[in-house]
């Protein structure tokens, strides 16, 4: 069965490209444009991995990440943070809050796919 990847970003343009890319890599995808939608989708759809942008209005990626990690039933869920802040401390913060990996914008498509595969043990 194909693994499920939820892509969360408030920029429709990046969602379009990422969804296309991840599908081409052989995963099933869904997208969400804000933090709350992301939490809801995770609860209903139960993805294997969340590709999570940090900078979103209302509820940002860090908060989504922290909330997902507070839910013990989601122990196997992988989280990759996408950040537009190219600084190591953002990555460090993401990892401290429970993310498994991080990708800095702009990224290479191949890199994103490789990291997703690595996290899902499909590399």
């Amino acid at each position: 069965m194909d693994k499920k990847v939820l892509i969360v970003d408030d920029e429709p343009n990046i969602l379009l490209s990422l969804a296309f890319l991840v599908q081409k890599a052989g995963f099933r995808t869904k997208t969400a444009e804000d933090g709350q939608a992301a939490l809801d989708t995770v609860a209903q759809w139960q993805p294997d991995l969340v590709l999570l942008d940090v900078n979103m209005p209302v509820m940002d990626g860090f908060e989504v990440c922290q909330r997902l990690r507070e839910d013990n039933s989601l122990g196997d869920l992988k989280i990759i943070i996408l950040t537009a802040k190219g600084r190591n401390i953002e990555k460090e913060k993401g990892l401290a809050l429970g993310a498994d990996d991080y990708v800095t914008k702009p990224f290479s498509n191949a890199d994103v796919v490789e990291r997703i595969k690595h996290q899902l043990g499909a590399a």
Binding site: N13, I14, E63, Q66, A84, K85, G86, I89, K93, F107
Partner: protein
């Protein structure tokens, strides 16, 4: 000489005359046949006498008198009046000697005049320059202190008094270290020295920020060595008050950061779309159009960003961003002063001192803000503040008893405004200014505690001073240490994590107490609840009552001069015992230090009956005998960077850090109690 000459000539004449008279008598008394030779002898003798007299007169007039005149003149030229005209007649047999001497005299007179002129002009110039320098120093807005190698003030200007705001402590001969933290100055001077040792063209000055002792305000200081080394000629320090200087400088940084960040998202969309179009040939037409549209949209976005950047760049020019190097104790002290107004808040400085590169004023307000907010939210009142470091990164960790804060909570605080911070007073802006973020997590070492972590730029200088490789003391294990410790069995059964420690180190004149070596310094720090209380330290020089061997000074830097007014060990030991109280004593290679302290027991009646834990033995228990067990080697294994290995106190701080990490590791080896740790070598 001339008198002796007269005497010789006179004697000559008298002898000739006697011979003449003798010849005349012979002539008168002789018979006719003998009268002729006698007459010849008498005439000859007379002629000899007459010639001698004539030569004498000639020498006297043409040689001896002129020589005397020359002698007098020479004396006068030499001793009183170089331009003196030698009084000598025109007739003499001295050739050009008088004239030459006369010329020499005139030349001497002339050069004396020149030297005098030059001296006068030089003195005038020096006075002028001194006046000028004084005027400049006096007129400077910056404070200036010139100090000798001991930090005693040799010169200061009115601005120094004004800026330091404590006129009672500014004075010639007073110690500058009553005003400016000694550690900041000395570390900076050391840094300059070490840079110059590597590169003789390295600058002779360096900057740092510090707090005025006993005051609230912060100084930006620049110190410089007066000659190549501190011992040579002391140092000059200029400083200004930077407590309230920020503004436009921060704005520049902020705009630059924002622009770069704003470019990342459109660039990400653009790149992803472009790569999709390139890499997949089988894209449906609709999708292809969508990606193309993305490219058009995002390119427009980026162009707009670039236009905005060009517009702003004019405003960005000029100015220097005001982050400066400051030692963490100085920063933490500032925070503590600010929260001290609230009786419910208590702030403890923990961890080892580190250099930080921050906008200190904004960072102090930021930390104060978090302490107050966390207090309001969680009720916590006792906080620890520590500058922690790992892999060349520095964190400011604010710790309290309880649970970590939620990201949402922290996020909402980031919108708030800090009082008294000019420029960008928002919490988020101050964080960004330091290229930082903030998060909360469980305490990495202590159960039941949470931390607020702010990564900040560490000042490069702590990794720059190449700590001199100091040969370690001979290492040996004293397995009796466990036995010689106090007999409180109960404390030995308590878990290591629950114990209070005093980690100490001594400096000594040499390695052999039995051959007269003595303690010259004791340094110690308290470790309570797994926290190094770097504020609660013991740091005392000891007069050893004997000269300090020169060859030992390179290990500890302590000279006879430094300990001559220090108390003896008999005075210091009781103070140390009071400091230790009932804590567990900890030292690296503890037998060595204990040996020095124990042998004074009989003399002073001071018995340290505390249990003694040796980090060396603990480390052997964890890592085995096979690996090197010097403090530096252990620190290296545990990933601890030791920046400062200069004094007993610095070494005990480093040992304390090692102790905490060893305790973490010890549990994995089943070493839980003090008893386990003391017997770890088994």
């Amino acid at each position: 000489m001339p008198k002796r000459f007269d005497l010789i000539i006179g004697l000559n004449l008298v002898l000739t005359l006697i011979a003449l008279i003798y010849a005349v008598f012979n002539f008168l008394g002789a018979d006719a046949s003998q009268q002729m030779p006698a007459l010849i002898v008498a005439v000859l003798l007379f002629m000899v006498a007459a010639m001698t007299a004539g030569q004498w007169a000639y020498l006297k007039v043409f040689l001896i008198r002129p020589l005397r005149a020359l002698e007098r003149g020479g004396d006068i030229i030499l001793s009183t009046h170089a331009a003196h005209d030698i009084e000598i007649g025109p007739t003499h047999e001295l050739g050009s000697l008088p004239a030459n001497l006369q010329t020499l005299g005139h030349k001497l007179a002339e050069s004396k005049r020149e030297v005098a002129r030059a001296l006068k002009t030089g003195a005038q110039q020096v006075t002028q320059q001194k006046d000028y320098l004084e005027q400049v120093i006096h007129g400077l807005d910056e404070g200036v202190l010139v100090c000798d190698s001991q930090g005693r003030i040799l010169l200061y200007n009115p601005s120094a008094v004004r800026i330091l705001k404590c006129p009672e402590h500014v004075g010639l001969g007073r110690s500058a270290y009553e005003l400016i933290p000694r550690a900041s100055v000395e570390h900076t001077l050391e840094l300059i020295e070490s840079r110059r040792a590597d590169d003789s063209n390295a600058p002779t000055t360096s900057d740092f920020v510090c707090t005025v002792l006993r005051k609230e305000h912060m100084l930006h200081c620049r110190v410089g060595l007066m000659s190549g080394s501190r011992d040579g000629g002391g140092f000059v320090m200029t400083f200004s008050d930077v407590t309230s200087r920020q503004g436009a400088l921060r704005k520049r940084n902020e705009l630059l950061r924002q622009t770069i960040e704003n470019l990342r998202s459109p660039l990400a969309s653009l790149r992803a779309a472009a790569e999709n179009l390139t890499h997949y040939d089988d894209i449906e037409t609709d999708m292809r159009h969508a990606f193309q549209q993305v490219i058009v949209d995002e390119s427009g976005q980026i162009s707009a960003q670039i236009d905005a950047l060009a517009e702003e760049s004019r405003k960005l020019l000029g100015g220097e961003f005001v982050t400066m190097d400051i030692r963490s104790p100085d920063l933490i002290k500032q925070v503590r002063k600010r929260v001290a107004t609230d009786a419910q808040l208590e702030l403890t400085q923990t961890g080892l001192p580190l250099w930080l590169r921050v906008d200190s004023q904004a960072m102090v307000r930021l930390l104060e803000f978090y302490i107050r907010r966390i207090h309001e939210t969680t009720g916590a009142g006792a906080f620890d503040l520590e500058a922690d470091h790992r892999d060349h990164k520095v964190f400011l960790d604010l710790a309290w008893e309880g649970e970590p804060l939620s990201h949402t909570q922290l996020k909402s605080w980031e919108e708030e405004t800090l009082p008294d911070v000019v420029g960008f007073p928002q919490v988020s802006a101050v964080l960004r200014q330091h290229a930082s973020v903030v998060w909360s997590q469980r305490h990495p070492r202590v159960e039941g505690r949470a931390i607020l972590r702010i990564p900040i730029p560490g000042a490069g200088r702590q990794w720059e001073v190449s700590s001199e490789i100091i040969p370690a003391r001979p290492i040996s294990y004293d397995f009796d240490l466990a036995e010689m410790a106090g007999d409180d069995a109960q404390i030995r059964l308590r878990p290591l994590r629950e114990l209070n420690f005093v980690v100490f180190d001594t400096e000594t004149t040499g390695l052999n107490p039995d051959q007269g070596d003595e303690v010259i310094s004791i340094g110690a720090v308290r470790v309570v609840n797994q926290r190094i209380l770097s504020d609660e330290t013991f740091d005392q020089l000891v007069n050893p009552g004997r000269p300090i061997p020169k060859q030992s000074i390179k290990f500890h830097g302590i000279t006879d001069e430094m300990v001559k007014d220090a108390p003896s060990l008999d005075t210091v030991l009781p103070q140390f015992r009071d400091f230790v109280s009932d804590s567990v004593l900890v030292a690296h290679n503890a037998w060595f230090d204990m040996k020095f302290l124990k042998r004074r027991e009989a003399q002073t009646g001071i018995r340290l009956r505390n249990p003694v834990l040796d980090t060396l033995i603990l480390s052997v228990g964890i890592h085995g005998h096979e690996v090197e067990q010097s403090l530096d080697a252990i620190a290296g294994r545990l990933g601890i960077e030791i920046f400062d290995r200069h004094s007993a106190l610095a070494d005990s701080l480093a040992t304390a850090e090692v102790l905490l990490r060893l305790i973490d590791l010890a549990e994995t080896k089943g070493i839980r109690t003090l008893q386990d740790a003391m017997n770890a070598y088994k």
